[in-house]
Symmetry: C2
Subunit: 314 residues, 2 copies
């Protein structure tokens, strides 16, 4: 039995076909093009699913979707997605109708959390917190071995936890949010304050083919001993520690999985992060939690596929 | 079928007998006297249970315990209790042996949360956060209709969420914790800064028989229009809003229940608290959550009794 996983992002939509062990059998992607409207998007998406159906036929039993935005999992509706510009779009029902497959949708961070639970932890831990560290910060929770999505499907909006009252401006319009310190846009904003000659920095530290002032560049620079780059990562680690400390106090997870582009700089932010965590007064939850980094950039789509299978076969 | 509920506090230990609807049939209490040691305490406790057994015999099917401290619910061990001065005390096993009844133990805030779930919400909401606002702040969560206690039983240590980096000194040794702003000791510390003539204030505002500078006094003063008292409660409400906002973002509860002594000042802290909550940028979880105050001062012991019954009859 196989499941389709779909990751709807602002730029691209990714599709995968996996078996119950999470083994990838096929993949596909297309430009999301949100400006053409949701109805058009759903038709295009169903077309890609049909291609899989021609190849795998009745082996395909489910579709799981992760979408970047505020998802109502009960109704299968994308309530709001800032980077798509859509509001209140019913995706699950029309896609189910067009494809004939049972379909579930969750916030993309929740699907990454399910992916981490199945693929990174092999279901060995019951209580797992996953933080997706990208432009923004998302989080998903597996609690008592089940995906927890809260009363409205919005649980885990950790990116907007306030770390500093009236602190740095966040993209959400608020101030002092976790992602206003540790989202990649915020990290690079801070880097701009400390690194004056941006063009020279990019020439020297960018990875070939990615000549931009971004977190990869900043990680390369830190590896090369660049003092300002290391300072930015250490500050990021400090704030990651503050945010994570709050989440660990509340949720008491057995395991934390960090994923997303920013997590690739682990070597440079981890020491400062762990320093904050080990300075906490209430020791029990901090002494027991294991913190791991996942380099699997497909946790979201794979997690969505596995979650769809889990639901369909229950 | 009846259950015994036990609330172990630093000063007193309370016992109740309730039926499955939470109706109180009997109660008892004794001085905890932690200095006499845990073994002595357990023998005294078993003696009080025996008195109930003489009255109710085989109708009694379970014991549920809530203890103020760091509880390991798996092993039935009180790992640490600051106000008892005990470390790593096994309570469940010896008490079960002495009384012949199945016995479970949880953190007291978890038991208050279970009490709120059963008695205040009648199990109508699946996702409930309970904040116990007393000297410190505790929290308990019912998620997906089940008590959530995390990987080590420590979930819900919301009192030590950091609201302000390097902020006010907390009793835990850390700084800027939620309860360093909203625990009653912190509220009265702030009141002392603003109210200079403490003795005159107590003479005028204390409730008869409670002639102390405490939150009751401060609530009476606010009701009488005392400007500084109102200012203290408004500040408290502001910080309660900050702490609660973080918890709502992460947990997305359908209902929040505030309980404990400080919650009696709801009229004076609620407006500032709600102002913070309604100013949040990400609306969905905040627009759906219902916030209620419970004046039931026995949620902990009743919740423990009902939780013990729930476990024993499962």
């Amino acid at each position: 039995m196989l499941g389709i996983g779909i990751d709807i992002g602002g730029t691209n939509t990714k599709l995968v076909v996996v078996n119950r062990d999470g083994k990838l059998l096929a993949q596909d992607r297309f430009k999301t093009e949100p400006s053409k409207g949701a109805a058009h998007f759903i038709r295009v998406l169903a077309g890609h699913v049909d291609t899989f159906k021609r190849d795998y036929g009745r082996q395909l039993v489910s579709i799981g979707i992760g979408a970047a935005g505020d998802v109502d999992p009960e109704r299968g509706v994308l309530r709001f997605a800032a980077n798509l510009g859509w509001g209140n779009v019913n995706i699950v029902k029309p896609l189910g109708k067009l494809t004939g497959l049972p379909c579930v949708m969750e916030n993309d961070a929740n699907m990454a959390a399910w992916g981490a639970y199945e693929l990174e932890c092999k279901r060995k831990n019951d209580d797992i917190l996953t933080l997706t560290l990208g432009t923004g910060i998302g989080s998903g929770m597996i609690l008592d071995g089940k995906l927890y999505h809260g009363a409205t499907g919005s649980a885990g909006e950790a990116g907007h936890l306030k770390l500093v009252p009236d602190g740095r401006q966040c993209n959400c319009g608020g101030k002092g949010c976790f992602e206003a310190y540790c989202g990649s846009y915020a990290i690079m904003r801070r880097a701009r304050e400390l690194i004056k000659n941006e063009a020279a920095f990019v020439r020297r530290y960018a990875s070939p083919g990615h000549e931009r002032f971004n977190t990869i560049c900043l990680t390369n620079a830190a590896a090369d001993g660049h003092a300002a780059a290391r300072k930015v990562w250490a500050e990021t680690g400090h704030y990651l520690g503050l945010g994570l400390a709050g989440l660990i106090l509340v949720l008491n997870p057995g395991r934390v999985v960090l994923t997303g582009g920013v997590s690739k700089a682990r070597e440079w932010f981890m020491p400062a992060m762990k320093k904050v965590l080990s300075a906490q007064q209430f020791k029990t939850p901090f002494s027991k939690v294991k913190i791991a980094v996942s380099d699997n950039s497909d946790l979201g789509s794979h997690g969505a596929a596995l979650f769809g299978l889990e639901r369909a076969l229950k």
